[in-house]
């Protein structure tokens, strides 16, 4: 590996991402010899060597700021431009991009927000960012064809207790401490919004026909979906629904859930364990 090229690239990386700017980066840089940056990067009467590196430093920050604004529009709305700018400045120092695609740039923003003082006045921000990130991930998550209702109807009743349901591989269930769904929806629909209320909630984020949806899950449905994701049998799912809500008519309740999951495109397969063994 060419050592000099490696040193040059390492030096430029450090200067472009220097926390307090290229000038201070140059001042504190030990790799620079007596000639300083001018001995490496050519300057002229229009632009010094440092000014030329600063062009790259600005592009680095503002390109990623734009990506994060696009991925977290509600977080941006709640924080405002200046606060979001400051948040991203710190975030990129803590979590600099490592992947070839900018898709991954925002994957740690919610975690970064959890301990960030900028969220002191709006403690729901980390959950809001987590929901926005999930939407981005679900949008590009794996494909699977939705299960047709007829294929469920074709299964003989005797097989139903042992039946297992496969949930769409792109779907996510988030466990949040703040009820941020309504806040996000208000911002998306350009309605007046108010801060999210505290309260543990599970939010389902899923995709159907290339569109991403999200909704809060009530207790029995959340338990049932999570159990289905873990490979629980239909009998176990029915137990959870029957006991979870104290519903007077558990059969009607499970039928309603199944109908909704089918219409939402959440189910991709219903199978008996033996079906897999044969495969």
């Amino acid at each position: 590996m060419p050592t000099d090229l490696k040193k040059l690239q390492g030096l430029l990386y450090r200067l472009i991402t220097a926390p307090t700017g290229v000038a201070e980066g140059v001042a504190s840089e030990r790799e620079l010899g007596a000639g300083g940056l001018d001995a490496i990067v050519l300057g002229d009467d229009r632009l010094s060597a440092q000014a030329r590196v600063e062009i790259y430093a600005n592009m680095y920050f503002y390109r990623l700021l734009d990506v994060l604004k696009e991925d977290f529009p509600a977080t941006l709305t709640v924080l405002g431009e200046d606060n979001f700018h400051n948040l991203v400045t710190g975030y990129l120092l803590e979590y600099p991009p490592t992947e070839p695609s900018v898709f991954y740039c925002g994957r740690q923003l919610a975690a970064f927000l959890r301990d960030h003082p900028i969220g002191d006045g709006a403690p729901f921000l980390a959950d809001l960012a987590a929901l926005e990130r999930a939407i981005v991930e679900v949008f590009q998550g794996p494909d699977a064809a939705a299960l047709e209702p007829d294929s469920l109807r074709a299964i003989a009743p005797v097989h139903w207790p042992a039946l297992k349901l496969r949930i769409h591989p792109s779907a996510q269930i988030l466990a949040l401490d703040w009820r941020v769904s309504e806040l996000l929806r208000a911002i998306e629909e350009r309605r007046p919004w108010k801060p999210a209320e505290p309260g543990a909630v599970k939010v389902l984020v899923w995709r159907r026909n290339a569109r991403v949806f999200y909704r809060d899950l009530q207790r029995p449905e959340a338990d049932a979906l999570e159990a289905a994701s873990r490979g629980a049998t239909f009998a176990k799912i029915c137990d959870l629904v029957a006991t979870g809500a104290g519903h007077p008519d558990p059969v009607a309740a499970i039928n309603r859930l199944l109908a909704r999951w089918l219409s939402d495109g959440l189910l991709t397969r219903a199978y008996r364990p033996r079906d897999l063994a044969r495969r």
């Binding site: 590996m1 001995a39 070839p100 290339a210």
Partner: protein
């Protein structure tokens, strides 16, 4: 020769799928489709069913001193197998180092060391992809004291030694010529005719002391003049209009592509000799 195409951007997905506009071909950003599933791949399926495409990457980091990413190359190869692009291109630059990504196209010093390094890596890439790639000249805002050759000497030597094609970005030549005070005409005149497979045409921003490759303006008249010079020298070469910010309606991009077609048609050009593109077609 694919003709006169347009860069496919999300703002135009629905329009392209629903109306099938008259466009010769589309260039797609490879990384936007190196995903597990969802809308991007669904769109690309629909577009590919009706148009030729080329895949253009921004993150191969062919000039980096980090090892080439095997997983990136495998994903790129798999995408190419699925969508069968006419060719695959990326930039003659580096985008990150030490496992970090700057998401920008940084220039290399034009030295023998960099030349050897880049040539070896392009050969590795071509082995994985099982086809020649095109490398694109980037707009740059800094040049290096250590350089021992011009940019056009460097890219010509890279293409010859790695046996790859060249995606000649006419706007990038103009931008870099202004920023580094070199003669853009000399650049065009020095390019090996048989290696130039595609052009990029785009707009840029004037910041007074420098030009910035922003892809957010119409193609400037000076860039069209440079394109005309290239059209005379290189003969029939596929051209592609890039627009990445303040993106207008597709019809305007189509008119820009048509202008490139008209200029080429009115240009007394020599027939292109056997090129990399033609060699692949055989």
């Amino acid at each position: 020769m694919l003709g006169y195409g347009v860069g496919l951007r999300p703002q135009h997905y629905s329009h392209v799928l629903e109306t099938r506009p008259k466009v010769d071909w589309f260039e797609v950003i490879s990384e936007n489709f190196m995903v597990a599933g969802g809308r991007p791949l669904e769109v690309l399926e629909g577009v590919r069913a009706n148009y030729p495409i080329a895949m253009h990457g921004v993150s191969m980091s062919i000039g980096s001193t980090d090892p080439l990413s095997r997983s990136y190359l495998r994903q790129l190869r798999d995408l190419a197998r699925r969508f069968e692009p006419a060719w695959i291109s990326d930039h003659l630059c580096w985008t990150g180092v030490a496992g970090r990504n700057l998401h920008d196209l940084l220039p290399l010093p034009y030295t023998d060391e960099a030349l050897r390094h880049v040539v070896a890596r392009i050969r590795q890439v071509q082995d994985v992809l099982e086809r020649p790639i095109l490398v694109e000249n980037v707009s740059s805002y800094m040049a290096f004291a250590d350089s021992t050759m011009t940019e056009w000497e460097f890219i010509s030597a890279v293409a010859a030694e790695a046996d790859c094609g060249i995606l000649l970005d006419i706007n990038n030549i103009f931008v870099s010529a202004f920023n580094h005070r070199f003669d853009a005409d000399r650049y065009i005149d020095a390019m090996p005719v048989e290696r130039v497979v595609q052009y990029h045409l785009a707009g840029h921003s004037d910041h007074g002391a420098y030009l910035l490759d922003t892809h957010d303006h119409p193609v400037r008249d000076e860039v069209w003049a440079l394109y005309e010079r290239a059209a005379r020298r290189f003969g029939p070469v596929s051209a592609l209009v890039e627009w990445d910010d303040n993106i207008p309606e597709l019809a305007e991009l189509g008119r820009t592509a048509d202008r490139a077609r008209t200029i080429f048609g009115a240009t007394a050009h020599t027939a292109k000799p056997d090129s990399l593109e033609h060699r692949d077609a055989d």
